[in-house]
Symmetry: C2
Subunit: 452 residues, 2 copies
């Protein structure tokens, strides 16, 4: 603490219990509650370097953190750690309109970057549901996805270069300022998604895309979720690439109705929300409507604006609920052809284990977010409830892997999903990852026990 | 040789001099001519593992090779090496139409994969100019770009998973079969572009895209190259994302006229070839024409088909000439806003050093391919010619870096560009790369002296 105080102002170091508690966890389930020794608010690259050097010297773990909106526990405090918040490093350092790039500090909120570039007709494409709160640094740490990834790619596809503080306190710059560049190994891609275990990202050069001239939204109701999943494949077969293709099940519709006073649940048991964008948006939307109707969908009659409101509701639904020990949101992805089978398997699991289930999916990517839960009241009368919840979760992971899927499409492994990582990645791959971790961080101070 | 013969058939090992010579180099300039001890043609993963184990045991370097169309010397033989050709491993193992993915052996030719998937309305997007000859494995090794990268991304953006033989002969699988996946570190991205220095890629899972329903081609002639470069920025400002945006200078037009009997050089001193695709192709092309005419372009009057023929000419122009010691094709990229300045700088360099210059550019990416050359006759009468050529090359690299660019947009560092890598990447980054190399390949048998 004395060493930190030598460089940082008192306002940059919090040791009081309310602050330590507030910064002890992200929005993921907590398996191993820990309080950090302190919360440190970096305001410059030099601050980060100083914190890293001090922590390295005393072998104190560092858990870097953006807005704490992660849902896998990647920013949960480790035993005896410092939580290093980067939220005050929130400046857009460069906005190169003609180059269609920007250089930002890690604490810049995704929505703020988008607002700043929108006036130039540009957008930063990756749009996790937390985009109004989450930071670019956090998005980089998890290689965040979002709604429009099937068309525009994930965070890694929009990150050109990184400034990174390594475990020895040194600062390196990886990547390139140009759209293309293949000099040396792709350290940038290795660091994106490494969840703060290899270094602390203190600067991000991103590629921007064009704000689409036209956006068309199609809302299609189905009698069941499986029929909606078949609709996703039909759109693919029509060779239309929507920007957004979200699938919501009956449970999710009921939740939205409760939150927003809508009547979605009366219209169908599943909703497929599709947005096309760009110069061909209207033609694409017309074809999408045609194939969905042919597949048994009931199209929403209201104007485009009403369907867009649904997308906004879906987009913002994260944050309205937070996972806890009774409710766990999953993040598997399966090859697109298995969407229908996987949804059927999920429904069977929920029935078998007598737990509740709702599902939303970024269906264009085959990326599903099933949420299993048991009610708190169940827990009190039924000691088995938690075991049943965990069995359903384990089954959902096994089924995804069996179908050629992954345990995490976009949320990251963090702390919570480590128990499943070995099912996806065999020993030799994990060993290679641990050796890379050791190479970057021999003392193991960066976010120990996460990601790999 | 005896060990190799224990597993491989005689037809899989060539030791005669013509074969060793044929496989000693790729299409890059040769600085250090070496003959391999043998050329080995792997036909299976097991073959590759056997070769790696044998070579590891005897510390014999392995230079993996696809079609040998690289232009940076990444597949040039090292002293005392085996060249391991993967061209016979050319099967498409899976074509998952509904998943929009394919699994291929490394020797599959890019164009063959595209032909196989086209009948399903799909395409494999990365399209290096060598696509008719080059292999997916070679494309992965160099993270190959191409014409339509600005819209569809480079090789890395289309590779989901890899099967890789490591230096200890073991086989690992990295990545995921799904479009999205963030379990563990992104080893796939680290391996893409590593030019055979970290392992031997024996299987590639790729993501496919939709063949566009409509393609529109715009050909615009300009009085000079700088005006064409300004046209590129104007299209960007109109917020149109073409699939292809190629810029050809007067020297390139003269070359095409000579090859194809066309009259491009009479129509202008520079040509901007733009292709829009998808449902909005016609609307995009109309807007492109509008902004280009406003910028002083003379639009080609002929029908779309004629302009398409120009794209095909441009696409295939690689292979019509091969670099040698008198002619070196560069591959820099600069931020898009610097295209005009960079082209002006190139012209000044050619004048200063009295060398010839022609330039083509994947202008949407800011990726330029200037070629500097001196005539063979100059060499005979002018001992200085080579020194002047090299000064021009060095200047072109310096200028690109000064403008925030890179020494290689898509060709790779290989052997030829190592002399410039230190100008782009400072010592600590290069050291990190070498330590990663050491981690994967402690004995240094994989393509030594390349890439990093």
């Amino acid at each position: 603490m004395a060493e930190l105080a030598a460089v940082l102002t008192p306002g940059q170091v919090a040791v009081d219990e309310p602050m330590r508690t507030a910064y002890a966890t992200d929005q993921g389930p907590v398996l191993d509650p820990q309080l950090p020794l302190a919360v440190v608010f970096a305001e410059s690259v030099e601050d980060v370097q100083h914190v890293v050097l001090s922590c390295a010297k005393h072998k104190v773990p560092i858990v870097a953190r953006g807005a704490g909106t992660g849902v896998s526990g990647g920013a949960h405090a480790s035993a005896g750690c410092i939580v290093l918040s980067l939220e005050r490093m929130n400046r857009i350092l460069q906005l190169n309109v003609d180059d269609e790039t920007a250089v930002v500090e890690p604490g810049v909120v995704n929505a703020d970057l988008n607002a700043a570039v929108a006036e130039h007709g540009l957008m930063y494409a990756p749009d996790p549901a937390s985009y109004k709160m989450s930071t670019i640094g956090g998005n980089v740490a998890t290689n965040a996805g979002g709604l429009r990834c099937a068309k525009y790619g994930v965070t890694r596809d929009s990150v050109l270069a990184l400034d990174v503080v390594l475990a020895d306190g040194s600062l390196i710059h990886t990547g390139h300022q140009t759209f293309k560049g293949v000099a040396g190994y792709d350290l940038t891609a290795l660091l994106v998604g490494s969840e703060g275990t290899l270094g602390i990202v203190v600067g991000v050069t991103v590629r921007l895309r064009y704000l689409p001239r036209d956006v068309q939204t199609v809302a299609a109701f189905y009698p069941d979720f499986r029929a909606a999943a078949a609709g996703v494949l039909a759109v693919g077969k029509a060779r239309v690439q929507p920007a957004i293709m979200e699938m919501l099940d009956a449970g999710t519709l009921a939740q939205l109705d409760e939150l927003y006073g809508s009547d979605l649940g009366e219209r169908g048991q599943a909703l497929l929300l599709i947005q096309t964008d760009g110069f061909g948006a209207a033609a694409e939307a017309a074809l999408v409507r045609e194939v969905l109707v042919a597949g048994g969908a009931t199209m929403m009659a209201e104007a485009n604006a009403e369907a867009e409101r649904l997308v906004e509701m879906r987009r913002s639904s994260r944050g309205d609920e937070v996972d806890n020990e009774y409710r766990v949101g999953e993040d598997v992805a399966v090859p697109r052809s298995r969407l229908v089978d996987y949804v059927a398997a999920l429904e069977a699991m929920a029935a078998t284990h007598n737990v509740q289930l709702k599902v939303v999916a970024h269906a264009g990517d085959g990326n599903l977010h099933p949420t299993f839960w048991v009610d708190r009241v169940d827990m009190e009368v039924d000691a088995d409830a938690m075991a049943r919840l965990n069995m359903a979760l384990d089954d959902s992971i096994d089924a995804a892997l069996e179908m050629g899927g992954t345990i995490t499409g976009e949320h990251g492994v963090g702390q919570y999903k480590l128990r499943w990582l070995g099912l996806e990645q065999p020993g030799p791959v994990r060993e290679l990852e641990h050796r890379i971790k050791e190479l970057f961080d021999p003392a193991g101070i960066f976010n120990p026990g996460k990601a790999i």
